[in-house]
C-alpha cells in the first residue's frame, strides 16, 4: 500500500521518536498517579488526536514543533485520564525494580517510592496552568519558547508561571520532607487537588 506523504512523515516521526514518546508518556502517567501502563495509552491517544486535528498543517513544520505538539496533547490526555479516575495511587514499592539509580541509597525502593509520591503530591498542589507549564518543561523537556508557542502564552508569562511553579513545588517538597523527618504536620490541604476539583465529576 502506498503511503501518502502525510502518513509517511507521521510514521517516520513516531518511529524515530518512539522511545522518547513512551518514556514521556510513562512519566506523565506516574506523576499523575496513574498506573504505569497508562503511559502507552496516553501516547496512543495523543498520537491519534494529533493526527486527526493537527497533522494536516503540522506536517509542514519542523520536527521539533511536531514533537512539542505531541507532548502538549499527551499532557492534555494525561490530565483527562487523571480526572476520570478518582483514585490517587502512589506507586507501590514492589512495582519498582531492585536497583534504582539513586544518589543517596541506590537500593532502597521505599525511598524511591517516597520520592515519587512526594513529587507527585507536590505537583497536585499546583494550579492547572502551573502544572501544565511545569510538566511541559520538566517532563517533556520543552523550552520556554516552545511552551509559549504551544500554550499561546507569552514567553515572559511562561517564564513567570514556570518560576512560580518551581518555587511552590520546592516549598511543598520541603514541607513534606520536614514532615517525614520530624513529624511536622503538613499544612491543611484539600483531599483532592485542583485538577480533580475542576474536572472530576
Amino acid at each position: 500500500m502506498r503511503r501518502s506523504p502525510e502518513e509517511a512523515g507521521f510514521e517516520d516521526l513516531v518511529r524515530s521518536e518512539w522511545e522518547q514518546l513512551t518514556r514521556t508518556g510513562k512519566r506523565y502517567a506516574l506523576y499523575r498517579g496513574l498506573p504505569p501502563d497508562a503511559g502507552a495509552d496516553i501516547v496512543a491517544e495523543a498520537l491519534e488526536r494529533v493526527w486527526k486535528k493537527e497533522w494536516s498543517t503540522l506536517c509542514l513544520t519542523d520536527s521539533s514543533r511536531q514533537l512539542a505538539t505531541i507532548y502538549r496533547y499527551m499532557q492534555y490526555v494525561a490530565q483527562e485520564y487523571a480526572r476520570g479516575t478518582k483514585w490517587f495511587s502512589p506507586i507501590a514499592p514492589d512495582q519498582l525494580p531492585q536497583a534504582v539509580h539513586h544518589d543517596r541509597d541506590p537500593t532502597d525502593r521505599l525511598a524511591a517510592a517516597d520520592l515519587l509520591t512526594d513529587v507527585a503530591a507536590a505537583m497536585r498542589e499546583l494550579s492547572e496552568r502551573e502544572r501544565m507549564v511545569l510538566e511541559l518543561a520538566a517532563i517533556a523537556g520543552l523550552t520556554n519558547a516552545e511552551i509559549a508557542e504551544q500554550t499561546g502564552m507569552s514567553r515572559t508569562h511562561v517564564s513567570t508561571v514556570l518560576s512560580r511553579a518551581r518555587a511552590r513545588l520546592k516549598n511543598t517538597l520541603r514541607e513534606r520532607a520536614q514532615h517525614r523527618c520530624d513529624g511536622t504536620p503538613l499544612p491543611r490541604q484539600d483531599e483532592t487537588g485542583q485538577a480533580d476539583r475542576e474536572g472530576g465529576a
Binding site: 510514521e11 513516531v14 503511559g39 486527526k52 494536516s56 506536517c59 525494580p97 520546592k170
Partner: protein, 343 residues
C-alpha cells in the same frame, strides 16, 4: 519508616532539577508492558483521515483544500515527476554546452551590485544602429538586462538589479518597460535583429559555414536562456518561440543560394543546416554528441571543397575541435553583443 532513608534533604536548599532527575530515574525504571509502535500507527491511520475534524468543523472549501494530499500538484503531476523532468531538462541543456548554471554555481562573473558599472555609450557598438530611434537610455537598459541574463540566467533579470547596474531608479526602468515581460520581449527583439545582421555577415564571409558555426556558438547560451524563459513565463511564450524560429528560417532561405555559388548541392546544404540546428540548443534528440560530431565533420568536409579548388590557397584548417565533448558552446557569450565589462 526509617526517616534517614528519605531522599529529600530536610535542610538547606532544594535543587529542583536534581529532584526531577532522580524522580525521572525512578519513573523510567518502572517496568511497563512494551509499547508496540506498529499497532499504534495502524490504529492512528485507521482512525480517520487527517483534517477530518477540520472538515467537520469548517466544512466547505477549507476542508476540501486540506484533504488534498500534500506534494501533489493540481494537474496530477507529482513534485517527484516534476523534479525528474527538470533534471532531464538540465542534463539536456548541459549536454548541449549550456554551462551558465555551472558557472553560476562557481560564482564566476557575479555582478557586484555595490559597484557602479562604467557603461559608456561609445561602447555600445553596432547595436546602437540596431536600436536606432529607440533612444540611448532604452538601449542601455537592455544592455544591462542582457548582461544579467548572460551572467545569471533569465532568472537573474530583475528590475531592481537592472536599475542597480545603471544606478537609476526603478521608475525609469518601469517607464520604458512597464512589466518584466516587456523587458524580455524588447531584449529578444533586439537580439534577433542583431542576430539576423550577424548571420547575414557570416553567410557573406569567405568561409560561411565556419562563420555560421561560430555565430551559433556565440549565441547558444542566450538562445537557451530564452527557450527556458519561454517555458517559465507563459505570457511571452508565443513571442519567444516565433522569434527564435525566425532565424533558422532565414538561414535556410539564404543558405542554398550561397552554397550554389560554391558548387555545393542544395540538398547537402539543407542537410548540414538541419544538422547544425539539431546539434544546437533547440535540439530535442538524445544523441546530441553524435550529431554534433557529425555536424562538425560534415562542416569541414563541405568547406574544404571550394577552398581547395582555389589555386595557391593554403589548406583550410577550421579551428573547431573534432571532439564533440570539447566543444562548449556559449563559452564567449557576449561575442556578438556589447563588450563585457572586463574588456
Amino acid at each position: 519508616m526509617d526517616r534517614s532513608l528519605h531522599p529529600l534533604p530536610q535542610t538547606g536548599d532544594l535543587d529542583l532539577d536534581q529532584v526531577f532527575r532522580e524522580a525521572h530515574a525512578v519513573v523510567d525504571a518502572v517496568a511497563t508492558r512494551p509499547g508496540d509502535v506498529d499497532s499504534v500507527i495502524r490504529s492512528v491511520f485507521g482512525s480517520a483521515d487527517p483534517g477530518g475534524h477540520a472538515l467537520a468543523d469548517a466544512g466547505g472549501a477549507r476542508g476540501r483544500a486540506r484533504s488534498t494530499p500534500q506534494g501533489e500538484l493540481i494537474d496530477g503531476q507529482t513534485s517527484q515527476d516534476l523534479a525528474t523532468e527538470v533534471d532531464g531538462l538540465r542534463r539536456r541543456l548541459s549536454s548541449t554546452g549550456h554551462d551558465a548554471r555551472a558557472s553560476r554555481a562557481r560564482g564566476a562573473g557575479r555582478i557586484d551590485l555595490t559597484r557602479p558599472l562604467p557603461m559608456r555609450v561609445a561602447s555600445l557598438g553596432p547595436e546602437a544602429i540596431a536600436t536606432r530611434g529607440d533612444g540611448v537610455i532604452r538601449s542601455r537598459l537592455l544592455d544591462a538586462a542582457e548582461r544579467l541574463m548572460v551572467e545569471d540566467g533569465w532568472n537573474g533579470v530583475q528590475v531592481p538589479r537592472v536599475a542597480a547596474i545603471l544606478g537609476v531608479g526603478l521608475q525609469l526602468v518601469h517607464h520604458y518597460f512597464p512589466t518584466l515581460d516587456d523587458l524580455f520581449v524588447a531584449l529578444l527583439k533586439r537580439k534577433v535583429r542583431q542576430w539576423v545582421q550577424a548571420q547575414a555577415d557570416a553567410l557573406e564571409s569567405p568561409r560561411p559555414l565556419t562563420a555560421l558555426w561560430e555565430f551559433n556558438r556565440g549565441r547558444a547560451q542566450l538562445v537557451a536562456e530564452f527557450a527556458t524563459l519561454a517555458m517559465h513565463r507563459t505570457a511571452i511564450h508565443e513571442e519567444v518561440t516565433i522569434r527564435l524560429r525566425f532565424l533558422p528560417e532565414a538561414q535556410s532561405r539564404l543558405m542554398p543560394g550561397l552554397l550554389a555559388r560554391r558548387d555545393l548541392s542544395p540538398t547537402l546544404a539543407a542537410e548540414i543546416v538541419a544538422l547544425l540546428q539539431r546539434a544546437l540548443v533547440m535540439s530535442e534528440s538524445e544523441e546530441e554528441d553524435q550529431l554534433l560530431a557529425e555536424a562538425v565533420s560534415t562542416l569541414r568536409q563541405l568547406e574544404t571543397v571550394p577552398e581547395a579548388r582555389k589555386p595557391g590557397s593554403e589548406p583550410v584548417v577550421p579551428h573547431i575541435s573534432l571532439s564533440a565533448t570539447s566543444i562548449t558552446m556559449g563559452h564567449d557569450p557576449v561575442e556578438h553583443g556589447r563588450t563585457s565589462r572586463d574588456q
